[in-house]
Amino acid sequence: MLTALVTLLSHYKRHPGQLAMLLLGLWVAGALWSGVQAINASARDSYARAEALFSTGLDRLERRDGEPLTREDYLRLRRAGLPVSPLLEGTLEASDGTELRVIGVDPFTLPGDSAFAAASSQGELTDFLTPPWQTRIAPDTLPALGVNAREAPGAEPRLATGRLPPLVLSPMLPPGTLVMDIAAAAVLLDSGERLSRLVTAPKALEHPPEGLVLTRATTLVSPGQLTESFHLNLTAMALLALVVGLFIVQAALGLALEQRLGMLRTLRALGVSGRGLVGLLALELVLLGVIGALAGIASGVWLARVLLPDVAATLGSLYGADVAVMLNLPWHYWLGGLGVTLGGLLLAGSGVLWRAARLSVLGLGQAQAWRAGFLRQLRGMALTGGAVAAGGLGLWVWLTHQPTGEGLLAGFGLIAALLLTSALLLPPLLALALAGLGRLMRRRPLAQWALADLKLQLPRLALAMMALLIALSANLGVSSMVGGFRLTFLEWLDQRLVADYYLRPAPEQFDAVQAWLAERPEVAELLPTRHAEATLLEVEGTGGARTPHLPVGLYGITPGESLIPSWPLLATQAGRDAAWQSFAAGEAFVNEQLAIDQGLAPSDRLTLSAPGGQETLVVAAVYPDYGNTRGEVLLATPKLAERFAATPSSIGIVLTVGADEVGLRDALRQRFELGSDALVDQREVKRVSVEIFERTFTITRALSVLTLAVAALALLASLLAQARERRRQLAPLWALGVPRARLVAIQLAQLGGMALAVGALAVPLGSVLALGLVAVINVAAFGWRLPLHVFPGDIALTLATAGAVALLAAALPAARLWRTPPRALLAEEAP
């Protein structure tokens, strides 16, 4: 048996290229898949840790006027019987410049089960509560403090503001977070009697106490929920890469089997049983698979390590989610990576094993014999493709009956069905096209031969072409989506950010600053904003009344000359002007997210909780709100202040043309004591927003380019593998007098033409894909819909890529043919 295995494997000794191709496919597929999974696993770990922290999952109380709460407030509320707990939060700068979040808690009043419940002795609690106290810290935060894990327990690193209490490692804490007793935090942060906020168990309070604002925990969406769609996107891309990689593997395996048919027959004739042979081939698969998968996982981890800081930065700026920049991989990650790669390999290899099992000992491996097989295969593909298409259609019909914004997974399913249908139908379609073209070219023997020859090559090229189609359309779809998103987003930023400066004064200064600014000649218009939280109690519209009890943000804007012309609206009841008039009179705008989520349309009525009872608002329009994750209701600032006692948040300053910006800035700073970040330049806001946006899609773009590269590799591999055999086909032509240059040109035209055809198919497919991403996936993932943009540049690039990939892939065999002496071609004649 061992001899048989060695014999089987000896094939790769003679064809190391095939072995390399096989391993390459496995390696690339495994690397992309496990790289993305490593990023996801690491990020999920960070979310889990963040969600376990006190700041999420608890209702919070802050003062309505924005002033900090004090210990006195806390004691007063406790004596009134309210189950509030103090929380002190601040940042400290580590020696390397990293910002560390310090959270001071009072374990006695922190909501939940008692801190003592699990305690067998009070010693540890006493250590936490009494000097020198303790700093709870996750091991991955240690490098920022310049402490290594072995020395960490008990170490007291020095920061600019003083020494930290002795460190105690708590791997469950989020990265960059130090948790300690509130007394220790108060000393470190020099906060005196001040508090950051009070927290209570969710729903412990029905109403906020006098003068305070209650923010429900449900309003504070957890980072895991927010970023779910982001990770799903990454996973889908990685899965695509895996599938494309497995196409290469299957092509390589098929080739290796075909070339070993003779050997297999010999082995059978020598007495190796059919079952034994299949077992041996399976063993070979597993052997190669383990090597490829391990290499893939190793590179995947490397890839993740390279990409993770970018991903972490994106998630941090987009969703405010802290993600560790160091990989933190659970054990199931490693097993999962190995499992998926091996499973995929066995799936890819199952066809080969099936064929080997049905191997006829006496049959001869001839092109015509295989052709009959291929025809059967084409029929199978067409049937399966039809079935998948029907399934996809069913999914689509189901999706159209779902409320808008539902069915993220089904959306991905629909896109997968679309890609799979196209891939499966591609070879039958190509075969048909070739047959048709062949009939047309009856008068031109060389062209007819080229087409017939291409048809003969089709079985081996089919898989590579399928991979190319998938990669090209995915690439086009993704780049259309990203490009469209980018355009819309930038336009929207321009529309929203109309003021030249945004000022965020301290709440007690707000009125004074506003009055002072109103007097300045440089100022054309002031756009004060306010903010409040409320619960959406009831929705009354065309679809009847519902009581969602949903926390929403209330945001106040100033409908004036600067804002009205540019603020985008998606739907209004009676035109823009009427909408703005109603808005100024006290009606509300709702953002698209809320409109989709609650099925709202203009003229619907909303009932919201307000400090003075309930307020009912009429929806005047729906506006787009990219980058927001929550439902939001917009009101004119004065109305919001009056009806919801909203806290002031910022003042937009529109300058007159040619105003002295620097003079105003300096005067403002001199007159009022403003924090360094109180005044923000609009250009700066735009720059940061665009940067965040670009970073978000860096990874998506990188993955889609990588997928395309894998597909090109698949094509190259297929061509290289059959190059030797091709020469055998070409030799008679040469012998008939066709010059070598002509032969090379025919070859390039064959492949280039086919690739261009595939590229042309990828254009509509990619557009449909982009539509799916924009209209289904985006709505489900983010809650907003984007207009579909078509980018001719991207389409041209897709076609060019297809042609270039094919020509590049054909170039190497062609160059070899060019250099082959005619004598050698003649020698090919005799196999």
Binding site: V105, D113, S114, A115, A119, S121, M172, L173, E193
Partner: protein, 384 residues
């Protein structure tokens, strides 16, 4: 994961690791650590005379202390009803290691329990707080004159007006007790007035109560003569109540011998007007046996300390409560006073499922021979 769960994890993981490293003696000695060596804390010693009203307030130099009120009441329909309110104090550091009184810094840990029981219903709540002994006004604390002990909005306080003649009035003789807790059953709590109908009773040797054969002990006095009136809410239903109450005050730095693992503690209002306090500490007696002690109080408040051999306690029956075998029927003998009683808990479901769990509930006392009713009271059992 719930926030508190992580905190608990935080606190306990290092804990368990710590325990594994250290010698076995670092495990909690005695029940709830009450047997741990006193170290640099002040020690309860015989021969110290108690001073009032000062001793009504906290003694932060001692490690542990409590204000422990139990009451046997009846509602308008004469249905018996029991309640408990307890404030525990524990010093986290010895007096000479106290932290600077910066905001939030604490050296005292407070825990309070409340319970209302009627029939098979038993509602329990628990609270925690921190304070600094240098600060008067914290989340929890005590004041000697006019007397006040509180944690959050739970409060036991004098309602005597002290204006003008403060020095002449005993503000401790008339107290108000108020505590309420929301829960999923509709909430429970009470607003009561407590009027002392007799003097304070000092246990043991003028207030020093020995707790083990080797001389370990605590300062211990009681006010067993409370008449109580007021309102009790149980599962959202409020009723008028009246009855008797018993307040125990005790402080020490090492209450138990480290071999003692729990106690059985009786406080009885007898129909003759006598009061009986008796306890046994399991382990720590002569030859490692149980250590017993008690006080026999006349209706006028004259105490007689009962020596260990003057009290007989025999376990007669147990019931299964919260997965434990709990003694609910006892024979209590004080031959010197001519008493031979069967003390029984009519309702066994009085498990206090608090962070330090124990059994605490109403009992009735009957004559062992005739079965005739002799009195009512409370029984506390720990370490089961």
């Amino acid at each position: 994961m719930k926030p508190i769960a992580i905190l608990t994890t935080l606190l306990t993981t290092a804990w368990l690791a710590g325990c594994a490293d250290e010698s076995p003696t670092s495990e909690a000695a005695g029940f709830a650590g009450l047997g741990e060596a006193a170290g640099d804390f002040a020690q309860a010693r015989p021969g110290t005379s108690l001073r009032f009203p000062q001793d009504h307030a906290a003694h932060p130099d001692y490690r542990i202390e409590w204000w422990y009120l139990t009451a046997n009441l009846e509602d308008e329909r004469s249905e018996p009803l029991g309640l408990q309110w307890t404030l525990f104090r524990q010093a986290m550091t010895p007096p000479d290691e106290r932290p600077e009184p910066t905001p939030w810094a604490a050296d005292q840990l407070w825990m309070a329990h409340m319970a209302v029981s009627q029939g098979d219903t038993h509602r329990v709540a628990e609270r925690f707080a921190r304070s600094h002994s240098a600060s008067e006004e914290g989340q929890a604390g005590t004041v000697a004159e006019p007397f006040r002990a509180w944690i959050d909005h739970w409060q036991l306080a004098s309602h005597v007006e002290t204006s003008g003649e403060a020095s002449k009035t005993d503000t401790f003789a008339e107290l108000s007790l108020s505590a309420h807790q929301d829960d999923e059953h509709g909430g429970f709590g009470y607003d009561l007035t407590l009027t002392a109908e007799g003097p304070l009773v000092l246990h043991g040797e003028a207030g020093f109560s020995q707790k083990a054969a080797d001389g370990q002990g605590s300062f211990y006095y009681s006010q067993p003569f409370w008449r109580i009136e007021g309102e009790v809410t149980l599962d959202g239903e409020t009723r008028m109540v009246s009855g008797r109450g018993w307040l125990d005050r005790e402080w020490s730095s090492q209450l138990l011998d480290e071999r003692q693992q729990g106690w059985d503690w009786f406080s009885l209002h007898l129909e003759s007007g006598h009061k009986l306090m008796a306890f046994q500490l399991r382990g720590g007696g002569e030859d490692g046996g149980d250590y017993r002690s008690g006080t026999w109080v006349t209706p006028e408040g004259e105490p007689t300390a009962l020596a260990p051999d003057a009290i007989g306690m025999t376990l007669l029956d147990t019931r299964r409560v919260s997965g434990r075998e709990i003694p609910t029927r006892w024979r209590l003998e004080v031959p010197g006073a001519g008493f031979d009683l069967i003390v029984e808990a009519p309702h066994a479901e009085r498990w206090m499922d608090t962070s330090v769990p124990y059994w605490e509930g109403e009992v009735v006392a009957r004559d062992a021979d005739s079965g005739e009713d002799k009195g009512i009271g409370y029984l506390e059992m720990t370490g089961y």
